[in-house]
């Protein structure tokens, strides 16, 4: 049985709505670098690279000269030579530190912007759109942003420039010193790059797979952790432990395969560098022995061989960083592309709105409006209506559409203006939503009440708590408003949660209130009391209450037809 389960989970396809990495991740990653700040930092860094290369060349030439003088002429190098060596090396140190400073602070700024983007995108999309995305995905994106993208900005991008400047410059210098060595470098350099490119292609495909495995592994860990009570309930903990173990094993194998190839590029480079050094050294040795060359320029050339390959080696190491960053960039782009509801420009009029629906129903991209029934009705300003219909007929989805969290089909007019023309953020600020399952933060009761208005005073909070009938509870809690609440509302009953949710909505003084079955879990007496609270508290505001029960709430009932209709 376990094996069947394992096979199924391994074979389980990602959900169809799941936005997978688009094909051209490299392009998307490059786009992240198109920014004036990045360009400026890269230009400065390139300039410093050039200075540093020239200083390195100066050092090599003078140092070789000094050695040759000591070895062949048995005399100490001139003060000028020694001074040049020291100055060029100190100059190199300063440029290197400057480069690092410019690049790392640019990366920090860029990541700040990207994280802000990500946050904005996630919050705009809201939970309905993101439900196809797994929260572990978002979590990974957010926590991995620095580790995966910072090396790309701070190292990979400048490393390309660095290589592009240093390599030809040093080749020219070497050619001036010792044409034979330069010829060898001119052949091995491009060959190395070719090898790197070939190995990189193979590693590239493997990295994508590895990222998927990594995400899935973490998704699984999150799922299994979040549902531990459920798994305990069905005695399935050990089964899922095996599943976890198997996917961890799979992840290990995949990663190791990626690394074998990725390190191969390192191996190629190391071989190229060390073999070139060895070849150059031996060849120079042979020519010196035959008297076909002189020591000073050839020694300088030998010293430059390591410097010639250093940027290529760096590029090879950082290429790995870029490959690491690509899937992340793709997912980031996918998230930004998902932004569902195009916001309009028009401001929202103050005061309770009149709502007009014409064949309106929520429309989920991908799945279509399957199951959602259309609504045609008018809700006059300041009136209270109930929205009813069979389970699954799209009542909740319609409320989300009204909140501009999901797109819709048909027409929804607000005071005669099509909903899609309104500025979405401004509109949302006018609308309060009371969900089926209010979300609790792992924080105090005060924080949980005031999430919709963090500046609310305790007097305000007590006031709304009194209106929704939570005052008794608060009085009985030893820590009062400071009592901590756990995730999922461990210590609050369903009724108390609904009251909490109503209190949150009350705090925002909204013009339109959308209530999604807030009383589903309440006994008839409490339900009646809560309905009274809603009627009194939201008096003269436009209110839409989704319910299954025949509650004494309003004169007007809107009805969504069943699936069959």
């Amino acid at each position: 049985m376990t094996f069947a389960l394992l096979r199924r989970w391994r074979a389980a396809p990602p959900p169809p709505q799941h936005p997978l990495a688009p094909p051209d991740a490299t392009h998307l990653l490059r786009e992240l670098g198109h920014h004036p700040d990045v360009r400026q930092a890269l230009t400065l860094s390139a300039l410093l690279s050039l200075i540093s290369t020239l200083l390195t060349a100066t050092f090599a030439v003078t140092a070789a000269q000094a050695i040759a003088t000591a070895l062949l002429d048995h005399r100490l190098p001139d003060t000028a030579v020694t001074l040049t060596i020291a100055v060029s090396l100190i100059g190199r140190a300063v440029t290197a530190a400057l480069r690092e400073r410019i690049l790392t602070s640019m990366a920090a700024r860029r990541l700040h912007d990207l994280r802000a983007d990500l946050t904005h995108a996630a919050l705009t999309l809201g939970p309905v759109q993101l439900s196809a995305q797994r929260s572990s995905h978002l979590n990974l994106l957010d926590t991995d942003l620095d580790t995966r993208l910072a090396p790309y900005f701070a190292r990979f991008l400048p490393a390309r420039w660095h290589a592009a400047i240093t390599t030809p410059t040093l080749l020219i210098v070497t050619a001036l010193l010792d044409p034979a060595t330069a010829l060898l470098l001119a052949i091995t350099g491009p060959l190395t790059i070719l090898f790197l490119w070939l190995v990189g292609l193979a590693a590239h495909a493997a990295t994508d797979r590895q990222w998927q495995a990594h995400t899935r592994l973490n998704a699984r860990l999150l799922t299994v952790t979040a549902h531990l009570p459920l798994l305990h309930l069905h005695g399935q903990v050990s089964t899922y432990r095996r599943v976890l173990k198997a996917s961890a094993e799979q992840h290990r194998t995949l990663t190791l395969n990626v690394l074998k190839i990725a390190f191969l590029s390192g191996l190629v480079l190391e071989f190229a560098v060390t073999l070139a050094t060895a070849l150059v050294a031996v060849w120079i040795g042979v020519r010196l022995f035959g008297g076909a060359a002189s020591l000073a320029p050839t020694l300088a050339a030998l010293m430059l061989v390591a410097e010639y390959f250093a940027p290529l080696r760096q590029l090879g190491a950082d290429r790995h960083a870029a490959m690491d960053a690509e899937p992340l960039a793709a997912h980031l782009a996918a998230l930004r592309r998902m932004t569902p509801v195009l916001t309009g420009q028009r401001p929202t009029e103050p005061g309770p709105p009149t709502l007009t629906f014409r064949d309106a129903r929520a429309h989920f991209p991908g799945t279509g409006g399957a199951g959602c029934s259309p609504l045609t009705a008018t809700v006059p300003a300041g009136t209270h209506v109930t929205l009813r219909g069979p389970s699954g007929s799209g009542k909740t989805s319609l409320l989300h559409a009204l909140r501009r969290h999901v797109p819709f089909q048909g027409e929804i007019l607000v005071n005669g203006t099509p909903l899609q023309y309104l500025d979405a953020d401004a509109w949302r600020a006018h609308v309060a939503f009371v969900p089926q399952h209010p979300h609790l933060l792992a924080a105090s009761l005060r924080v949980n009440l005031s999430v919709t208005r963090p500046d609310a005073s305790d007097t305000d909070l007590i006031d709304v708590a009194t209106q929704v009938g939570l005052l008794d509870l608060i009085r009985h809690l030893p820590q009062g408003l400071d009592t901590p609440l756990g995730e999922g509302g461990l210590h609050l009953s369903g009724g108390e949660l609904a009251r909490l949710s109503l209190a949150r909505a009350l705090l925002t003084t909204p013009a339109l209130v959308l209530l999604d079955e807030p009383t589903a879990h309440l006994d008839p007496e409490t339900e009646a009391a809560i309905v009274q609270v809603i009627r009194a508290a939201f008096h003269s505001r436009t209110v839409v209450l989704v319910t299954h029960h025949a509650v004494n709430f309003s004169a007007q009932h809107l009805t969504l037809a069943g699936r069959a209709a």
């Binding site: 050695i67 050094t277 219909g389 699954g392 299954h548």
Partner: protein
């Protein structure tokens, strides 16, 4: 792992050796010895070191990473074992997003430690020792001129240990906080939680940037020190070396080798930058894991459990009292449920119906009194036995992120699609195919659909007592009736315990209790309604 460290040290030594050997080789060649054969040994050395270094580095990387990955898999399972000791109380201990980001980052920090700390450190020590000892054989001043800069470089990295560790820690905490808050805000954005979270998220993001800036300062300062020390060591070696050569103390051919080797030695110092932070991360990761390990779960099984008898089970609550904070939820409650009976609990919301059900599934133990199954107190039976004997539909209807089929197979792993189809029809879920992806926590389904899946799952489990918490709260009257019929049809004579404030489920009841003010009050069963179902 020791293998990887050894390989790393050898690779670094080979790099320095290669530089030295090539310098010596061309100097010797420039002196034009009588025959080339005297150079052959040097030529071979240079080639061997060239190939050896690359091979050693590759071998080191593979061994090191293979070991780290195996360690990671092991740590992940270990973490799961620590966490899976907890039941429902887990959710009150930690935020979920937090829990995951910790697990992931902590496992990463611990598995990569050997690669990030001992490996570069030992390579550096090996190189520095080799250089210093070799130069000491030639001249003490020369040894000081090369050894001291290397030592200063290492010393600078060592002084950065504390600030770098603190920064790494800060940044990790901030990132974790940001990610946890973001998940919270997204999950709660339906009820306007997100707008309020934005200022805090923005502040956190700024703080992350500030710590990144401070890390950047540490990094460039280290680079500056390292490069300046490089300048000092190389020009020092050249100056003193040339002096020794002209004085005749040092063989001329060694000079170039000496200078090149000194330059190469600094390459091993490059990796010292990341060392302090990596070490700090591992320490805090281990401390966190330890904290979890030391935390005792709310409910634990007995060391030598009694086994539950086979066959139908009698359920008894004897004088059960539960207090949460200062609220007394249940006050000396007595209840007897004979095997195969159906009991419905009603009462105002917040009266403690769910709490009473949690006692049965042992998500909670009473403060006083006991709960027994056929006379065996629950705390003396194995947790897994109790959980197997009961199946529960919780009020929130939690679903696994997976397909509909997978969720139902959680209860009955051998369920086939043929068996599944009629069941879905009975519960008005026939518009969903078994492959239907339910979304994270079931969010792709409506509230009513989710509840029906959860009820069906509770019924499918091979339990002896079925516990349903508010089975029909989200359903319209027609569907409600259908679901009640479905429950009756799949109950198969098992004991049924339902908590409901809705009147319809009362029709199933053999016995009805009203829970109010911490007490159970029996009500007459509505036998007349029974015919409807």
């Amino acid at each position: 792992m020791n293998g990887a460290v050894l390989l790393a040290a050898l690779a670094s030594l080979a790099a320095v050796g290669l530089a030295a050997a090539s310098g010596v080789l061309i100097s010797r060649a420039a002196l034009q010895p009588d025959d080339f054969l005297s150079l052959t040994l040097l030529v071979t050395t240079v080639r061997a070191l060239g190939v050896g270094r690359a091979a050693l580095r590759y071998a080191e990387r593979l061994t090191g990473h293979a070991h780290a990955l195996a360690l990671g898999a092991h740590l992940r399972l270990q973490w799961f074992d620590t966490i899976s000791r907890f039941g429902r109380d887990l959710l009150s201990l930690e935020r979920r997003g937090d829990l995951l980001s910790r697990a992931q980052a902590d496992v990463d920090a611990r598995q990569m430690w050997t690669l990030r700390v001992p490996l570069p450190l030992l390579s550096f020590i090996a190189v520095a020792t080799a250089i210093t000892l070799t130069t000491l054989l030639i001249d003490p001043l020369l040894a000081a001129l090369t050894g001291v800069p290397l030592l200063v470089t290492a010393g600078h990295a060592a002084t950065q240990r504390h600030p770098a560790a603190a920064l790494a820690q800060d940044r990790q905490e901030l990132r974790r906080e940001h990610s946890a808050r973001l998940l919270d805000a997204v999950a709660g954005s339906a009820d306007s939680v997100s707008q309020a979270a934005l200022p805090h998220l923005t502040a956190l993001n700024r703080a992350i940037m500030v710590t990144a800036g401070s890390s950047s300062t540490l990094a460039w300062q280290f680079t500056l020190t390292r490069e300046l020390m490089f300048a000092l060591a190389v020009s020092g070696a050249l100056w003193r070396g040339a002096d020794l050569v002209t004085a005749g103390t040092l063989t001329g051919a060694w000079l170039a080798g000496l200078v090149l080797a000194t330059a190469a030695a600094f390459e091993a110092a490059t990796l010292l930058t990341t060392l302090p932070a990596a070490h700090a991360e591992r320490i805090s990761a281990r401390n966190r894991t330890r904290q979890w390990r030391d935390q005792t779960p709310l409910v634990v099984g007995p060391p030598s459990p009694q086994s539950l008898p086979d066959g139908p089970l009698e359920l008894d609550l004897r004088g059960v009292t539960v207090r949460l904070g200062e609220r007394t939820i249940l006050n000396g409650v007595h209840l007897h449920v004979a095997a195969g009976r159906c009991v419905v609990l009603t009462g105002p919301s917040g009266a403690g119906k769910s709490t009473l059900l949690h006692l049965l599934t042992r998500d909670l133990d009473p403060d006083q009194g006991e709960v027994t199954l056929s006379g065996i107190p629950l705390p003396t039976a194995a947790l897994s036995d109790v959980r197997r004997a009961l199946s529960l539909h919780p009020q929130q209807s939690p679903l696994l992120d997976g397909s509909l089929r997978e969720n139902l197979r959680l209860a009955d792993p051998n369920l086939t699609d043929e068996q599944l189809k009629p069941l879905l029809t009975q519960f008005a879920l026939d518009h969903l195919c078994p492959d239907h992806w339910v979304g994270e926590g079931g969010t792709q389904l409506s509230g009513g659909e989710r509840a029906r899946v959860s009820i069906l799952r509770a019924l499918l489990a091979p339990s002896r007592i079925v516990v349903l918490d508010e089975p029909t709260a989200h359903l319209d009257p027609d569907t409600e009736l259908l679901v009640l019929k479905g429950i009756q049809a799949n109950r198969q004579g098992r004991t049924l315990i339902i908590a409901s404030h809705r009147p319809a489920p009362l029709a199933l009841a053999d016995q009805i209790y009203r829970l109010q003010d911490g007490q159970l009050h029996p009500l007459p069963a509505a036998s007349t309604q029974k015919k409807v179902i």
